[in-house]
Amino acid sequence: MKKRQLWVVLAVMVMVIGFAFGAVAEEGVTDTEIHIGQWGPQTGPAAAWGSVARGTAVYFKMINAAGGIHGRKIVYHMFDDGYNPAKTMAGVKELQEGVGIFAWASGVGTAPGMAVRKYLMERKVPWVGAASGSHYWITPPEKYQFATYPLYFNEAMALVAYAVNNLGSKKIAMAYQNDGYGKNGLEGAENMLKRHGLELVAKVPVEVKDKDMKSHVMKMKQAGADTVLLWVSPTHGLTIMGTAKAMQFAPQWMSTSTLSDFPFMYKISKGLWQGVITGSFAELPDSKNPLMKKYKKAYEKYAAKEERWGVFFYAGFGFIEPMVEALHRSGRDLTRERFVKEMEGIRNFKGIMGTINFKPFDPKDPSSRLGTNEVFLVKCLADGKYEVLTSWLTVK
């Protein structure tokens, strides 16, 4: 009998403690600290995108060195999930329930993000700036999730519009990664072509695991494409263009912002990248923008020596600029509700990405949770230099 009582007491205590935390103070905020988390693949096949999370780390170091946010330092918890949703879930749960995270920043990958999305939204934990432009993050929109990456859909539309209007392309082919990333781009491209009364002359799915791209290139060559849109990973892009070069197939290459790191791509492609047109969702690496200069200084000061000043490094800053802005605006009295209100109040905010606007939450309006759809187009010149083709634009 006594034992049973003991268990009951224990169970009640656990419950009380569990509930009590939620009531007393906002989770993840103390007098001196704000806890922010992020997952990012540092290992495994997608590890090349891990630089986003490391970029965010440098961003927070910079903010903390400047005194933090209203006297609070940001404590940044980043973990490696190896692009495995089971591990993402594990890490998010461990940090959320163990440390208590105020809000989550960026996070690479569709599957990892989708696995934890529901969990975070049910707990009303804000999540800002998922590091991909797929529409999953805003369909349906969730009150606590804010997307800042322009949709692949719109980016593809912008690229195709440019190809048709400015380059006079008639036969556009597309190689897309066979998953959400590639298919979002595919839908956008097809949508824009339809408006011009055109169709893709070839659409070629690229499996993530495949290495040999010869059949893919053959398909596009057979179709006689004059412009090819690549919605694939950098290595696949490289292989496709190399194979095409060897087969004497030389269309105008276009690609997504994911492959817009020209100095890098130019170097590893041994010059092949020259002439490629891509979208870009953030300022260029050599930009004279004062914010970019400031960020680059932080990079030189805090980043590891092997770290590359690439798009997906400073995107780790860019994706969550509005988050930091909203934290500033929330003032000392920081709660999640307040934070979300301040996020919603962000209008015409300009960081290193396109102009960001949020609106009060409307479950029927995805754009209330999509900060920006602005991209601009650039072309790769010799030595990986950029030529800016358009200003910031939104194609609807």
Partner: protein, 349 residues
């Protein structure tokens, strides 16, 4: 003490009161476990339990029947997709959808078992490996299964209970795991189990003794796939979101590694191996936050390696542990356990 004096003794679930006692203690521990730890560890336990179910099934195939499979992620995927699709599209309740998708998986297992009748060693490896890759490719192609966008698990309600938190789901999962464990143990003691072992030890001799090779080899595949299917169905509800890319070849390789590291042909080995490897899989990412060691590793990487790739240390540790266990104990963790038992039995002599 370990000697079996008659057949019925061999059949007993608990060979002695002591074992029954410890079994009861274990059950009680499992029952109160969620109240003793943070929710996160309940999630880890759920993850382990799922891997244990797969390992049990795979051990029937590999450890007891002497076949090999690098395609179990495929069965796992069939179970996961089957359960969700049967629930959302056909409206079946979970407790029905789960075994049905297990049966679907076992049907595929049976089909894969057919070519396996003639194949051995690396030939079987490639055939099963191809199966695993093909299944996810097909699922990814079919919009009915959500294509590459994946599927969300529906809310889970059994009778009056809502099992949508880790703690609640834990009880369902542990019940199923214990049942599956007992079932596997009993199966091995029956005629079927002995036929499996006979096939493993010498298939031609077994056939001359009247063991139907076609029947029992395909049965082993089907049973093993059933376990993987059930585990997959449960996994879908632990993760609550599935897409084809989750079920990779690496997953199949891990399943195989679990039973080999744990101990082939042993129930306890399956449990220990699956437990250890899934724990390492989830926990090793924290290796850099171990005090002193983490800092030392960071400095070490700064001077000799790179700090951007520092997380890869977890692979090195993972691989090394696997190698070391296999080098020193070909029977895996189970072998270590036997040795410890032997040592203490005659202690202090």
């Amino acid at each position: 003490m370990d000697m079996k004096r008659d057949y019925y003794e061999d059949l007993q679930l608990f060979s002695s009161g002591v074992i029954f006692f410890w079994f009861t203690v274990l059950i009680i521990f499992l029952a109160v476990f969620p109240f003793l730890v943070k929710n996160y560890y309940v999630y880890v336990a759920n993850f382990m339990a799922i891997n244990i179910i797969v390992a049990l099934g795979l051990n029937i195939l590999v450890g007891y029947t002497g076949q090999i499979s690098l395609g179990h992620a495929g069965f796992f995927a069939i179970g996961a997709y089957g359960t969700i699709v049967l629930m959302t599209r056909a409206g079946l309740p979970f407790l029905l959808a789960l075994p049905v998708s297990g049966l679907i998986a076992s049907l595929f297992g049976f089909l894969l078992g057919l070519p396996a009748l003639r194949l051995k060693g690396p030939y079987l490896v490639i055939a099963t490996l191809g199966f695993g890759l093909t299944i996810t490719q097909i699922i990814g192609r079919l919009e009915f299964f959500g294509g590459r966008d994946g599927l969300h698990a529906p809310e889970l309600t059994i009778g009056p209970w809502h099992l949508n938190s880790d703690r609640h789901f834990y009880y369902l999962l542990i019940t199923i795991t214990v049942l599956m464990t007992v079932a596997a143990r009993n199966l091995i003691k029956t005629k079927v189990g002995r036929a499996f072992i006979a096939i493993r030890d010498a298939d031609i001799a077994a056939e001359t003794m009247g063991v139907n090779l076609v029947l029992y080899k395909t049965l082993a595949f089907a049973l093993s796939a059933f376990y993987a299917g059930i585990a997959g169905g449960l996994y879908a509800f632990v993760l609550r979101f599935i897409e084809p890319e989750i079920f990779t070849l690496m997953m199949s390789i891990m399943f195989l590694a679990m039973i080999v590291v744990g101990g082939l042909g042993s129930i306890m080995g399956s449990i220990a191996g699956a437990g250890l490897l899934s724990w390492m899989d989830l926990q090793l990412r924290n290796i850099l936050s171990i005090p002193y060691l983490g800092e030392w590793l960071e400095n070490f990487s700064r001077s000799y390696f790179s700090t951007t790739g520092i997380s890869n240390i977890q692979f090195i540790v993972f691989g090394s542990i696997m190698i070391l266990i296999m080098l020193f104990e070909p029977l895996g963790i189970y072998g270590i356990w036997i040795r410890i038992k032997k040592y203490w039995k005659t202690w202090p002599f």
